[in-house]
C-alpha cells in the first residue's frame, strides 16, 4: 500500500520475448565517454546483449537510445563493468556465459557525417571455464590499485580467480551445496558468501591464495589439493540469503547488507549484527547505498507486490508503487541527473524512473448507480412500500412466513390391479418352482414446502415382501420434481398373507417443527396370492352371504379369474400354496357362497368379494344371516396356544442347558487352572454333549418360530374373517368394527419380543368388555381393568368361553358402542402398543389424487431470507493483511431505549393508546 508511484522517465521497447534474472544488468559508463553519462547494459539468457543510452525524448525516435545490440548466441548469465585490463583504467565489460568468461571493450567512434556516432564492441580476452558458472564478482583482490580482478563461482562451489588474462587459482568452498550470493569486501580483502546451511561466511583472499601450495600448473582449474580453507568468521542468518552487498560508509566503514527470504540483515564487516528487519512480503531485489551524509545505509527494496520501498536503516522513508516487477535494480546517472533508479524485469525490459509525489492513480470503479428521474424513483419507492405494507398485513409481519395451516405433504399411493409383466420376485428371493407374481405400485410425494428427513416405510404382512423396506430421502422442496417411488410387492414363500391391505407410512420433518407421520393404504390385487382354477362344487369350509339385490354376474365381478370351467354363477381359484377356493352364486335367491379347502383361505376371498361388490354397486347391502361359527376359530386358537406353550418349553429347556453348559465350563476351567494336573473326569465329553444339545435346541427354536409365525398369520386371517362376518351379521357401524378389530387384536403378528401373547390380551379385553358394555346389569358394575399383569394362561378354555359369551351377547342384541368410548378401555392401550405411529400426528390420506395448490403470493422478505447463504464452518485460514478494518462497521450497538429518537416520533408514539404504558417506560429510562 502506498500513496505515491514511481515516475517512469524512460523505458525500452522490446519486440522479442527474452528472459533474464538477477545480475543480468549493470549500469556504467561503459564506453568511457567524457561526459560521464551511464549506459544501461542488459544481457539476456537468450544470449542477446543490449546497451542503452537512455534519453528523454524517447517518444520521437524509438530506436535512438539503443546503442548496441549483439546476439552472442550463448546465454548471458551476468554482466559486470570494471577495470579489467591491466594497461588502462578504463571500464570494460565482463560477460559470464555458462562455460565462458569474456571481457569486451566498448568504444564509440564519431562519424564524419551528421549521422551520429557508432558503437563497437571488441573482445579483448576470454577464459574457458571447466565448471558451469553460477555468478561472479569483481574487485581489487589482494589490494591491487586501480584494477579489478574477477572471481567466478561455479554451480558446484569452486571459486576461480582470474587476474586479467591469466588464471590464478581455484578453490572449493567447504560444506557447499547450493551456490549462494557473493560479495567482495575491499576493506578486509575477503569474499562474503552465504552457505546452504544458512550461514554467512567470510573468506579472506589471503587464506584462499595461501591454501594453494601445489599449484604446479598454471591453467589447471581443477586442483583439489591445498590446505583446508577456513572461514574468517561466520554468522548464522537463520534463513536462505538471496543477495549480499557491501556498503562503504564514510563514518563507520563498511557494512554488509544481507537480503534473506523474509528479512533484511545488516552486519559489521567483522560479523556482528547491527540491525534486522522482518518483512511480511516477498522481496525480489534490493540495492544499498550510503546516505548523503555518509552515516547511515539506505536500502531500496522491490517487493513482489509491485512496491518500491526505501529504508533508512530499518525505518521506512518512502513507499511507491512501481509499474513492473523488477528482477534487478541499479542506480545510475543520466543526462546530468544522478540517482535515477534503473530496473529490469524478467522479460528484459529495462526502465528508468524517479520517485515523485505523483499519487497512485487509483480511481474508484464507477458506481452502477446513476442519478435518474426523481419522480420515477419516488413512484417506485411508494409502490414498493405499499407492497411491503400489504405483505406485512397479510402475513402479520412474520419474518419467516408460515404455511403451517396448509398441508406439507400429500402422498399418492396407488397399486394397479394388473400384475407386473415380468415378475421381480425372482430377483429378490430364491424359491423353487414357478415364479411368483409381483405387483408394482407407485408412491408420489407432493410437497408444499421444503421438508427434510423423509422416511418411507412399507410394513408388510409376513409372506408378502416389498422391494423397499425403508427408504430415506434427504429433503424435498416444492420446486423440485416430486419424487416417485415404485415399490414392488410379492410373496416370498408359498404361504398365505393375513391381509392384502398394504399400508404406507411416511415420516418427515417440516422446517422447525416436530416430526410428522402420514400413512395411507392401498389394496394389493388378489392375483398376487391366487391364480384362476376350475371351480369345485363342494369344499369343506364355507361362508354364505346374502345380498338385498340379485346376484351380480361373477364373470363381471372377477374378470381376472376367468378360466374354462367358470361360469356366471361359479368361479374358482387356487392359492399359490395349494388350497383351492370357489365362489358360487345362487340363481334363485340372492346368495353368495364362498368355499375353501381350508378355513384360513376363506378370509381373503370373502373380503375381496365384499369389496368388489361394493365397488360395483354402492347400494348393495351384504349381510350374513347366521352367527359366525367359532368352531374353526377355536381350533386355530388352540393350535396357536399349543405352539406358544411349546415355545415356552423350548426356551426353558434352552436356559437350563445353557446353565448346565456354563457350569461345566467353570468346572473345566478350574481344572485347567489347577497347578497339579488332574484327569478331566469326562467333563469334556459332557461339555461337548451339552453343546450339541444346545445347538439342536436352538435349531428347534428357529423352526418353531417359523411355525409360530405361520400360525399367527392364520390366526390373524381368521380373526379378520370373524370381524367381517360379525359386521355383516350384526350390521356394525365402522366405529364398532374398529373396536371389535382392536379387541381381537388383528394386527397381531408373531410378537416374540413382547411378554404378553395374543390369548391373554384378547381375554382381558373381552373380560372388560363383558363386564362393562355388554354386561347384563346395564353397565352398573364398577370397571376393574384386570389384574394389570398379563400372563400366559393355563389353557384356552377361558378365552374360548368368553368369546362364545361375547357372541351370545351380540346375538341377543347388545351393541358395542354404548357406554365407555375410547376412555380407559384396556383394549385401547393394547392397540396403541402395536400401532407403529403416534396417533396424535397421524393423518390418513386417501389414495385419490388431489391437485397441488400453487402458492403464488408475493413474499418479499421470505425470498430474501431464503437466499441467505449456507453457514460456513469453522473459520478458515486467515492471512492477516487481507482483511482489514472490518470491525468498525458494527457501529453503534445500543439502539435500545437509549436511541436518540427525535421528539416528533415520540409524540407519534403517544397516540398509540394500546401500549401507552411502554412509552412511559421509555421516557423513564431516557431520563
Amino acid at each position: 500500500m502506498s500513496l505515491f508511484q514511481v515516475q517512469e522517465w524512460w523505458r525500452c521497447e522490446l519486440s522479442d520475448v527474452e528472459e533474464c534474472g538477477s545480475g543480468s544488468m549493470c549500469v556504467a559508463n561503459i564506453d568511457n565517454s567524457p561526459d560521464g553519462i551511464d549506459k544501461v547494459i542488459v544481457g539476456s539468457y537468450n544470449g542477446i546483449l543490449h546497451v542503452y543510452a537512455p534519453t528523454k525524448d524517447v517518444g520521437k525516435n524509438p530506436g535512438q537510445d539503443v546503442v548496441l545490440e549483439i546476439n552472442l548466441s550463448d546465454p548471458i548469465l551476468q554482466v559486470l563493468a570494471g577495470k579489467f585490463v591491466s594497461v588502462s583504467t578504463d571500464l570494460h565489460l565482463a560477460i559470464l556465459h555458462p562455460r565462458l568468461l569474456s571481457v569486451y571493450q566498448v568504444t564509440r567512434s564519431v562519424d564524419a557525417g551528421d549521422q551520429g556516432c557508432q558503437y563497437k564492441m571488441s573482445k579483448l580476452y576470454q577464459h574457458k571455464l571447466e565448471r558451469s558458472a553460477a555468478n561472479m564478482i569483481h574487485g581489487p583482490f589482494g589490494g591491487v590499485k586501480d584494477q579489478d580482478f574477477i572471481c567466478v563461482q561455479s554451480l558446484d562451489g569452486a571459486l576461480s580467480i582470474f587476474e586479467h588474462e591469466s588464471f590464478t587459482f581455484t578453490r572449493f568452498l567447504p560444506g557447499f551445496l547450493l551456490p549462494g550470493p557473493l560479495a567482495y569486501n575491499v576493506h578486509t580483502d575477503s569474499y562474503i558468501t552465504a552457505s546452504s546451511s544458512y550461514f554467512l561466511e567470510s573468506y579472506s583472499y589471503q587464506v584462499l591464495a595461501v591454501a594453494s601450495d601445489a599449484d604446479s600448473k598454471e591453467d589447471s582449474q581443477s586442483v583439489y589439493t591445498g590446505k583446508k580453507i577456513k572461514a574468517d568468521w561466520t554468522f548464522n542468518l537463520g534463513s536462505y540469503a538471496f543477495d549480499v552487498s557491501v556498503v562503504n560508509l564514510q563514518d563507520r566503514g563498511p557494512l554488509i547488507m544481507v537480503l534473506c527470504e523474509h528479512s533484511l540483515l545488516c552486519l559489521e564487516s567483522s560479523g556482528e549484527l547491527v540491525f534486522m528487519k522482518k518483512f511480511e512480503f516477498a522481496v525480489s531485489c534490493f540495492k544499498c547505498f550510503p546516505s548523503p551524509d555518509g552515516s547511515k545505509v539506505h536500502t531500496i527494496l522491490c517487493t513482489h507486490s509491485g512496491q518500491l520501498q526505501i529504508y533508512e536503516q530499518s525505518k521506512l522513508l518512502w513507499a511507491a508503487k512501481s509499474g513492473s516487477l523488477p528482477v534487478h535494480l541499479e542506480i545510475g546517472r543520466f543526462l546530468g541527473t544522478s540517482g535515477i533508479i534503473v530496473m529490469v524485469d524478467e522479460g528484459c525490459r529495462a526502465s528508468c524512473g524517479y520517485l515523485g509525489t505523483m499519487p497512485t492513480l487509483f480511481t474508484l470503479p464507477r458506481s452502477m448507480h446513476r442519478e435518474t428521474d426523481m419522480a420515477r424513483i419516488d413512484h417506485e419507492l411508494s409502490s414498493l412500500n405499499e407492497k411491503i405494507q400489504q405483505q406485512q398485513q397479510s402475513n402479520n409481519g412474520e419474518i419467516v412466513s408460515s404455511k403451517k395451516d396448509k398441508e406439507d405433504l400429500k402422498i399418492i399411493f396407488s397399486v394397479p390391479s394388473v400384475l407386473d409383466k415380468k415378475s421381480v420376485a425372482g430377483q429378490h428371493v430364491k424359491i423353487n418352482g414357478d415364479d411368483l407374481p409381483s405387483v408394482t405400485g407407485q408412491v408420489i410425494l407432493k410437497v408444499n414446502r421444503r421438508i427434510t428427513d423423509i422416511q418411507v416405510t412399507t410394513p408388510v404382512a409376513p409372506p408378502l415382501c416389498s422391494t423397499i423396506g425403508s427408504l430415506h430421502i434427504q429433503a424435498v422442496s416444492e420446486f423440485e420434481h416430486s419424487p416417485s417411488i415404485r415399490p414392488s410387492f410379492f410373496l416370498n414363500s408359498y404361504e398365505l398373507p393375513s391381509t392384502l391391505e398394504q399400508e404406507l407410512i411416511v415420516y418427515y420433518k417440516p422446517p422447525s417443527e416436530t416430526p410428522q407421520v402420514l400413512s395411507c393404504f392401498a389394496r394389493l390385487p388378489l392375483l398376487l396370492v391366487a391364480q384362476p382354477c376350475g371351480p369345485i362344487k363342494k369344499l369343506e369350509h364355507k361362508v354364505t352371504l346374502e345380498s338385498n339385490k340379485p346376484c351380480i354376474n361373477l364373470m363381471e365381478l372377477f374378470p381376472d379369474f376367468l378360466c374354462a370351467d367358470s361360469g356366471p354363477n361359479c368361479i374358482g381359484m387356487q392359492y399359490f400354496y395349494g388350497a383351492k377356493a370357489t365362489i358360487l352364486t345362487s340363481k334363485s335367491s340372492n346368495r353368495y357362497r364362498i368355499q375353501c379347502e381350508e378355513y384360513v383361505g376363506l378370509w381373503l376371498i370373502t373380503d375381496e368379494l365384499v369389496h368388489r361388490i361394493h365397488q360395483k354397486d354402492g347400494d348393495v347391502k351384504i349381510s350374513n344371516e347366521e352367527q359366525p361359527s367359532l368352531e374353526e376359530y377355536a381350533r386355530l386358537i388352540d393350535q396357536h396356544f399349543r405352539l406358544r406353550q411349546m415355545n415356552e418349553d423350548l426356551n426353558m429347556m434352552m436356559e437350563q442347558r445353557a446353565r448346565q453348559y456354563r457350569t461345566i465350563q467353570r468346572r473345566l476351567l478350574t481344572r485347567f487352572k489347577d497347578k497339579t494336573p488332574h484327569s478331566l473326569n469326562c467333563l469334556d465329553t459332557l461339555l461337548e454333549g451339552t453343546h450339541t444339545q444346545l445347538l439342536a435346541l436352538a435349531d428347534a427354536v428357529e423352526e418353531h418360530k417359523e411355525n409360530m409365525r405361520r400360525c399367527s398369520s392364520h390366526l390373524s386371517s381368521a380373526s379378520r374373517l370373524l370381524v367381517l362376518l360379525t359386521r355383516l351379521w350384526k350390521d356394525l357401524s365402522p366405529e364398532e368394527e374398529e373396536d371389535l378389530a382392536s379387541i381381537l387384536h388383528l394386527a397381531q403378528t408373531d410378537n416374540f419380543s413382547s411378554s404378553s401373547g395374543w390369548e391373554e390380551i384378547v381375554d382381558s379385553s373381552l373380560t372388560v368388555l363383558l363386564k362393562t358394555t355388554l354386561s347384563r346389569s346395564d353397565g352398573s358394575m364398577p370397571t376393574q381393568p384386570g389384574s394389570g399383569i398379563l400372563e400366559i394362561p393355563q389353557d384356552t378354555v377361558k378365552v374360548k368361553k368368553h368369546l362364545a359369551i361375547f357372541m351370545d351377547r351380540l346375538a341377543k342384541g347388545s351393541r358395542l358402542n354404548v357406554g365407555i368410548r375410547r376412555g380407559d378401555h384396556p383394549s385401547k392401550s393394547s392397540r396403541t402398543e402395536t400401532n407403529v405411529s403416534n396417533p396424535i400426528n397421524r393423518r390418513k390420506d386417501s389414495t385419490t389424487l388431489n391437485s397441488q395448490r400453487v402458492d403464488a403470493e408475493l413474499d418479499l422478505y421470505k425470498e430474501i431470507s431464503d437466499s441467505s447463504p449456507p453457514l460456513p464452518t469453522d473459520a478458515g485460514i486467515r492471512y492477516p493483511p487481507q482483511k482489514m478494518t472490518q470491525q468498525l462497521m458494527n457501529g453503534d450497538h445500543d439502539v435500545d431505549y437509549e436511541t436518540p429518537l427525535d421528539e416528533r416520533i415520540r409524540s407519534m408514539d403517544v397516540t398509540d393508546n394500546v401500549n401507552s404504558h411502554f412509552d412511559d417506560d421509555i421516557t423513564d429510562i431516557l431520563s
Binding site: 560444506g175 525480489s284 525505518k315 458506481s367 430474501i864 447463504p869 472490518q886 462497521m889 445500543d894 436511541t899
Partner: protein
Amino acid sequence: MMDPMFIALSKYRRRKYGECVENCTQILDKNPYDQAAWALKAKALTQQVYIDEIESEEQGIAEMLMDDTSIAQFARPGTSLKQPTSASIGGPSPAVRPVSQAGRPLSGFVRPGTQSGRPGTMEQALKTPRTAQTARLVTSASGRFVRLGTASMLSHPDGPFINLQRLNYGKYAAKPNLAKVLFEYIFHHENDVRNALELAAQATGCAQYKDWWWKLQVGKCYHRLGMFREAERQYKSALKQQVMLDTVLLLGKVYLRLDQPLQAVALYKQSLEKFPNDTTLLVAISRIYDGMNMIEDTTKWYKEVLISDGVNVEAIASIAANYFYTDQPEIAIRLYRRLIQMGLYNVELFNNIGLCCFYAQHYDMTLKCFERAVAIATDEQLADVWYNISHLALGVGDNNMAYQCLRLAVAADNGHTEAYNNLAVLELRRGDVERAKALFRSSAELNPLAYEPHYNQATLSESLGDLQTSYSSVLKSVEAFPDHVDSKNLLVKLKEHFASL
C-alpha cells in the same frame, strides 16, 4: 547451453516455485543422487506453502479451556488477556464500543484471534452460537494445522517427494546444509511436527548446541506440541547466543499462551533497545495492549508503528477505530481517507467512512459511501452494512426505513444479534409486544454476552409484570456489563420488591 541447475536457481529466485520444482525433478531423473537439486526442490516445495510461524496461530476451544499452562487461573485485573471486558482499568465501556460475539470489544483490524477472544468457561464457549460470522472457536488448533498441512496430500504421480518413514535422521542431522532444508520441508510442507522434532533434536546435538537456529526450531516444535515451558527454555537459550527478531517474537507468543501479557510486553520493550523502532515489535506490543483493552496504550504504540512504517494498514485502521469510538469521527475520516488513497477498496472501508461521515455530519457523503458499500458487499458483509444504514435512518427519524433496513440485515445474516435487538425495539414502538419479546429472546440467545437484549428483555418483562423473567434477564445483563447503571438500578428495584413480598 545453460545449466539446468542454474535455470532452477533463477526460477527459485523469481519465486516461480512450480517451474523450479519441475526443473529439479528433471535433474533428479537424470541423477537421483544430486543433493543440490534435491535440496532446491525441497526448498521450493516448502516455499509454496510457507506461512510464518509467528503469524499463524489461532487457539481452539480445547486449547483455551483445558488450558493448564496459564500461570494464574484468576489473574489480577490488568495482568491477563482472559477478562473480556475489564472496564475497571480504563477500557472502553460496552455501551460505547460494541463487543464481538465473544464479548471482546471490536478491534479495528481483523487478525487471527481478534474474533474469538477467550471465553471464561466451557459452557460459555459451547453456548456461543455458530452463525454465519461465527465467533465460535474452531474446536481445536490441531484441526486447523491438519488443514494447513495438506500440501503433502496433493497427488504426486510418483508418490511423495520425500518418504519420511524411510529417512535416517541421524545421517541427515550431521549435514547441516541438508538438514536445515529437510527440517523446513518436514515442518512446513509435510506438517509432521514429531518427525521434525526428532530431526531438530538430533541436529542441535550434532551442532554441539551452538547453533541458535536449531534451538529455535526445536522450540517451534515444542510450541506446536503445546509444551510451552520447554519451548521457552529453547528460545531463551537461542537468545543467549544471538538476539534475533524471530526468536523474540516466538518467545513473546509463548508468554501470551501462558497468559503473561505483561512479561511479553517487557520482553518486546527490552528487544526494542536492541532493534530500535522495529515495526514488528511495535505492532506486537500494540496488539497485546489491544487485547487487554487498554485503548490509550494501544493508540500510543500504534502511533509509534506509524513513525517507523508510515503505510502500516493495521496501525492506521486501529487508530481510526479508536478515534471513532472515542467520539472523534473527523480524525477517523482522515485516516480512513488515507487508506483509500493508498489503494484499499473494500466494503468495510466504505462502510466505516460512511459511518464517520454521518457522525461528523457530512450527510451528503454518507449515503454515497453506503451505496458503494452495498454495491460491492458480499452476503455476510451486507448484514452489517444494512445494520449501519438502519442507524442512519434512525438518526434522520425514518423509523419505517430503519425497520426495513434491519429486516434486510436479518435476511442477509440470520444470526445478527444487534439487528434483532433493534428490530424488537422498533416493534415495541409499533406496539407489538409479543413479537418484540420473541425478537429480544432470539437476540439474547444469539449473543449471550451482549447486555442490551438482556436489559431490554428485563425492562419489558418488568413492565408486563413478569418479575421472575425480568430478574433472570437483568442478572444476565449485569453479568455481561457489570457497570451498567440502569441494569443495576433495575436489579435493586426488583430485589426490594421481592424483599417486600
